[in-house]
């Protein structure tokens, strides 16, 4: 029982770390992709 609790606590801590880490690198990356999309629209206008 204690082991299962510890395991699920570990999993949720991992999940939080995953969300934070991927957000930190994901937000600037998405911003960059958006910049490209905006510029590319001009090409096909």
């Amino acid at each position: 029982m204690a082991q299962t609790l510890q395991g699920s606590e570990h999993k949720s801590r991992n999940l939080i770390k995953l969300i934070i880490s991927w957000t930190i690198v994901g937000v600037p990356s998405l911003w960059a992709v958006w910049q490209v999309v905006v510029k590319t629209v001009v090409l096909f206008q």
Binding site: G7, N14, L18, I24, V25, A32, V33, T40, V42, L43
Partner: protein
């Protein structure tokens, strides 16, 4: 320095239960920053007007060729430092290497800022080019080799993620630099040195996040539910080859040629993409629309910029897509596609000009650029298949000298061939045709080199020496006898 001991490899071994998907963001944090080097050209025009502000002052302000050397030096030092410090990086682990990379990259910006403020280009060469270049080399190889250790089941996909980040670095760095320069610009300053300081600090914090969160797997770690196949695929070794031994194998040099040819062709046209589409299609298109000449130039430049941005996006997506596909097809097959299909596509480019199809031109270039990126991203996994994981980072570092060579060769080839043709009366719109055929022939050379790659002979394999303790007990036993 004991206060920095937390950076040691031993201190960064992941505890049981650590999710391996936490490492790619660490790798990306570094690659997204150092990838800015490909966006350095955004400073070209402002740097030519540091003194004149509104217009460059001839003989006082820097020229574009002088500024162009900043990029070339940085890329050359990237290859050299990756080759020289590769073994140290492998020994020290990703955390220490990424930390040193962050310090060098950020210091490079700060020294560069000082050089710009006092208007001395040699200081910029030294700062951004050499110190920053060392940061580039260390930052490039370290996360890549660690990713392959975390993802032994999907090494192509894993390295694709990091190297995709490098491709994305310019996409973040360029608009960020533009925003910062606009922010810092005053009537007496172009805002360039201030932007360098700001970017140096921003990148340091971002890379520090990557370094501090980096973990290496324990030596006996393997992904849950994954067992290495006892009989590995053809062209995939279970043995290890040291970096010193690898450079004595024909496979290393064949792969060097493969990378050099693929990158020379890609880098050559990447820098020319915007003027190429303008001269081949856009000027004519906008003139036919009845616009006046000033408007034509303005519209063509904007659309050309859009095309270059689109190619960057395909370069980025290709890094992930093709390297992930190599886990299924095998590395050699992937390179056969890059180089074989690439040859055909390059050779077809002049035809798009003749039939006047801008859509076909864009599609062909998008595929070419995706394979150019794929070539970068698949090479670490190819090296792993050939030489094992033991010193793959160091071997990768040495192979990156091919990139440095290509960084000089590609633009020089494209620019000189074009100039030569225009001087001989070839119309501007057709001046790229010969270049495309030369690029296609470079890919043929790469194709042949890749075709010749075979498994590394066992004589080059690393043989584990017996542990010293065992040796000691053996010698004691012998003494007793």
């Amino acid at each position: 320095m004991s206060f920095l001991s937390f950076l040691d490899r031993e201190k960064s071994i992941a505890e049981p239960g650590y999710s391996r998907w936490l490492f790619p963001p660490s790798a990306l944090a570094v690659h997204l920053c150092i990838g800015q080097v490909y966006g350095i050209s955004v400073f070209n025009i402002p740097m030519t007007k540091l003194i004149g502000i509104n217009e460059p002052i001839k003989g006082v302000d820097w020229t574009i060729p002088e500024i162009g050397w900043i990029f070339s030096i940085a890329l050359a030092v990237l290859g050299i430092s990756a080759a020289v410090f590769g073994k140290w990086a492998e020994r020290s682990g990703p955390r220490k290497t990424m930390f040193v990379s962050a310090v060098c990259w950020s210091t490079g910006f700060l020294i560069g800022a000082f050089g710009i403020a006092v208007h001395n280009i040699w200081i910029v060469y030294f700062g951004y080019g050499i110190i920053g270049g060392i940061g580039l080399g260390l930052g490039y190889i370290s996360p890549v080799s660690t990713l392959m250790k975390w993802f032994p089941d999907r090494p192509g996909m894993a390295t694709g993620i990091a190297i995709m980040g490098f491709g994305g670095g310019a996409m973040i760095g360029s608009p960020l630099a533009v925003e910062l320069m606009n922010f810092f610009k005053t009537p007496s300053s172009m805002g360039v040195w201030e932007t360098f300081v700001a970017m140096g600090l921003i990148y340091f914090v971002f890379m520090l996040f990557g370094a501090l969160t980096a973990r290496v797997p324990a030596p006996d770690w393997k992904p849950e539910g994954w067992t290495p196949t006892p009989q590995p695929r053809k062209m995939m070794t279970t043995a290890n080859v040291t970096a010193d031994m690898a450079i004595r194998t024909p496979q290393f040099w064949l792969l060097w040629i493969v990378l050099c040819m693929n990158v020379t062709a890609g880098i050559g046209v990447l820098g020319q993409a915007s003027p190429m589409i303008q001269e081949m299609f856009l000027f004519k298109k906008f003139r036919d629309m009845g616009l006046d000449e000033k408007e034509v130039v303005k519209m063509a430049a904007a659309a050309g910029g859009g095309f270059a941005a689109l190619l960057s996006l395909f370069n980025l997506v290709g890094r992930f897509f093709w390297s992930s596909l190599s886990d299924i097809l095998g590395r050699k097959t992937n390179y056969m596609i890059y180089l074989g299909l690439g040859t055909v596509l390059y050779a077809l480019i002049p035809m798009t000009g003749q039939i006047g199809s801008i859509v076909l031109f864009v599609v062909l270039f998008a595929i070419i650029m995706s394979m150019y990126g794929g070539g970068f991203a698949t090479i670490p996994a190819y090296l792993r298949d050939m030489f094992g994981t033991m010193q793959v980072g160091a071997i990768h570092g040495r192979l990156l000298t091919a990139w440095s060579t290509a960084a000089v060769l590609g633009p020089v080839l494209v620019n000189y061939i074009r100039e030569y043709q225009i001087n001989n009366g070839v119309p501007k719109a057709e001046a790229y045709n010969v270049t495309m055929y030369i690029m296609a022939s470079l890919l043929v050379v790469g194709f042949i080199a890749n075709y010749l790659v075979k498994e590394v002979a066992p004589k080059y394999h690393h043989v584990e020496e017996p542990a010293p303790q065992k040796e000691l007990s053996n010698s004691l036993q012998m003494q007793r006898v």
